[in-house]
């Protein structure tokens, strides 16, 4: 049976009034994991599904992927019912804290998942090389996953989700247990996917990270969608405006305050602009790393054993 897999007019993901309950064994009770959930993700968007632990994020992702059947309602991927196997032809998925087969090397892992998507021969080999390079694991391609760090496992997980050029990538807590530099790399990869028209749905409880890269977000609480919309719209405070000044003198600030008061406005807060802790961390670690690289290059002897010449500049 053949079927067309990506219908261009259909939303990448459409969840319509989905409810999922799990019966509690030996009782007549049931746990409601997802409650009357409806949402839609358009092609090319990065959509963030937010919520505290136990809010129903992972169950929602599993319903979308057809791993769990909804008690009520319907889920579709590019217009195809999620319960059909064919709907997952153009989907890549990274589960939360994946382990994979630790007896395989990085390259073998990608070969296995590539074969499941019916890649083979030179195409498969090329895709393995490209994807390993994309996630920065080319050097570790022949190492077994048992020797990978958590961050590397997350990267190989992302690589297996991308090996077959999916149109939709679903990531469950993609930056959990990844350091800030790794997180930034993953964000860069996701933004690059977006530029190529790939739809990304990610779940996370790391709000600042989601804010950085997502176009839209949905906030889940106790299985229900409590807020949903474009990030800019959700975060904007309609009655407030920020003006960022450089080298403003105290006199100028006083004048601005007086002007605002005169026009009936109120200066709510006046403070120094701040960087983020993440930016500070990245700048500090990157500066140190580049300093080390410079030092080691300068100290390395030349091929004839003489000390290196210093750049006159």
């Amino acid at each position: 049976m053949a079927e067309l897999l990506v219908e261009k007019t259909a939303p990448a993901i459409k969840i319509d009034r989905v409810t999922k309950t799990f019966p509690v064994p030996f009782t007549r009770q049931a746990i409601v994991a997802v409650r009357d959930l409806s949402l839609q993700v358009e092609p090319g968007q990065i959509y963030g599904l937010l919520g505290p632990n136990g809010s129903g994020k992972s169950t929602t992702l599993k319903i979308i992927l057809g791993l769990v059947a909804p008690t009520r309602g319907k889920s579709e991927i590019f217009g195809h019912d999620s319960r059909t196997v064919g709907s997952r032809e153009a989907v890549g998925f990274l589960p939360e804290s994946p382990y994979f087969y630790n007896y395989l090397t990085g390259a073998e892992t990608l070969a296995f998942f590539g074969k499941l998507s019916r890649l083979r021969g030179p195409t498969l080999r090329t895709k393995i090389d490209e994807t390993l390079a994309l996630v920065g694991l080319s050097e570790a391609r022949h190492r077994r996953l048992s020797g990978y760090s958590k961050g590397m496992l997350q990267r190989i997980g992302l690589a297996q989700a991308l090996i077959h050029d999916p149109k939709l990538v679903i990531l469950d807590e993609p930056t959990a247990s990844v350091d800030p530099a790794g997180t930034r790399d993953i964000h860069r990869i996701l933004l690059n996917l977006k530029r190529r028209g790939v739809t990304v749905l990610l779940s996370s409880h790391l709000l600042s990270q989601v804010q950085e890269i997502c176009d839209r977000v949905g906030i889940l609480a106790q299985g229900a969608l409590v807020r949903e919309g474009a990030v800019e719209e959700l975060l904007a405070l309609e009655d407030r405006t920020e003006v960022v000044l450089r080298d403003a003198s105290p006199e100028l600030l006083r004048e601005i305050g007086a002007l605002a008061q005169k026009s009936g406005a109120e200066v709510v807060e006046e403070r120094k602009s701040r960087t983020t802790l993440e930016r500070l961390f990245l700048d500090a670690t990157e500066n140190l790393a580049s300093e080390k690289r410079r030092t080691s290059t300068a100290e390395r002897p030349t091929s004839n054993g003489e000390p290196p010449r210093r750049d006159p500049s």
């Binding site: 049976m1 053949a2 079927e3 067309l4 897999l5 599993k62 992927l65 057809g66 791993l67 769990v68 059947a69 196997v85 064919g86 997952r88 032809e89 153009a90 989907v91 890549g92 998925f93 990274l94 589960p95 939360e96 804290s97 994946p98 382990y99 994979f100 087969y101 007896y103 395989l104 296995f112 998942f113 074969k115 499941l116 998507s117 019916r118 083979r120 997980g157 297996q160 989700a161 077959h164 679903i170």
Partner: protein, 292 residues
């Protein structure tokens, strides 16, 4: 790319990956060593009882092979599905266009490949041991037949050879493999609804013993309780659910040198296939309804 409901390539990828996983397990190496030890020790035991040397040798070797392949089938299969669930690897596989039946068949195919390789290695070792013992005993026998003509000695040694490498060895080995395949399919079925490896292993071992005892129990029941329809229905359902594993043992025929009737061999093969397919279909049905 268009979706294919069934893809031999996907199935082969799962099967070969399962085989790789199992061959890299330490338990497999330990069990292989165990089998090698048993077959090797049979050589030693055979030396002690000169009269029935090859009978004892075959008895121990076939028994060890049957035990080893059964253990391997149960222990190797029991961990496959729970491990994939624990590592969440099952999500990454089934989140791709992989039907659940392909996943289950691929896992079983991997185990059957492992069992086939194990049987080939053990059989080769068994035949090497037989050959070496034959060489040793033939030389001794030839020395003992010093008064006979060369032709008589040749005939006697040829008879010896035919008895040692009897034609019934092959079906005996096939049936041992089939029994292990059946146990692997049964273990896979139990692991589709079990929550722990221990439950799977213990339940399969219980079924293993029921399978070995059911023929005796059935005869005893029919003698004691008579043949009421209720009793017959009960026995029929037990017989249908649990295979009569005693049937998968031709060691008596092999040891005593009796020919294995083709009809009996065919019946055992058919029964083995019936149970493997039955358990596989049930495993697919259960796994299809499971929420991951």
């Amino acid at each position: 790319m268009q979706h294919r409901v069934f893809s031999p390539r996907r199935l082969a990828a799962i099967a070969t990956n399962t085989l790789t996983e199992l061959t890299r397990l330490k338990i497999f190496h330990v069990l292989l060593l165990f089998a090698l030890f048993l077959i090797g020790s049979s050589l030693f035991v055979a030396r002690l009882s000169f009269q029935q040397e090859f009978q004892v040798l075959k008895d121990i070797a076939l028994g060890a092979m049957s035990l080893f392949t059964s253990l391997l089938a149960i222990l190797a299969t029991a961990r496959l599905l729970p491990q994939d669930r624990a590592d969440r690897t099952v999500y990454t596989i089934l989140a791709r266009p992989v039907p659940r039946f392909e996943y289950i068949i691929g896992k079983l195919a991997g185990v059957l490949l492992l069992l086939a390789i194990s049987m080939l290695v053990m059989s080769a070792l068994f035949f090497v041991v037989l050959f070496l013992r034959e060489q040793a005993t033939s030389a001794a026998a030839a020395r003992g037949m010093a008064g006979l003509s060369a032709e008589q000695i040749t005939v006697a040694l040829a008879n010896n050879h035919a008895e040692i490498f009897s034609a019934n060895l092959l079906p005996g080995l096939v049936v041992i493999y089939l029994k292990a395949c059946l146990l692997a399919a049964l273990t896979l079925l139990i692991s589709t609804f079990a929550t722990t490896n221990i439950f799977t292993v213990v339940t399969t071992v219980i079924v293993y013993f029921i399978g070995h005892l059911q023929a005796t129990a059935r005869e005893f029941w029919l003698q004691e309780q008579g043949a009421s329809w209720l009793g017959r229905a009960f026995l029929a359902s037990v017989a249908l659910l649990f295979p009569d594993l005693q049937l998968f043992d031709f060691s008596d025929e092999i040891i005593t040198g009796l020919a294995i009737p083709l009809a009996l061999f065919g019946k055992v093969i058919a029964l083995g296939f019936f149970y493997i397919v039955l358990y596989l279909l049930l495993a697919i049905a259960v796994f299809n309804t499971r929420e991951l």
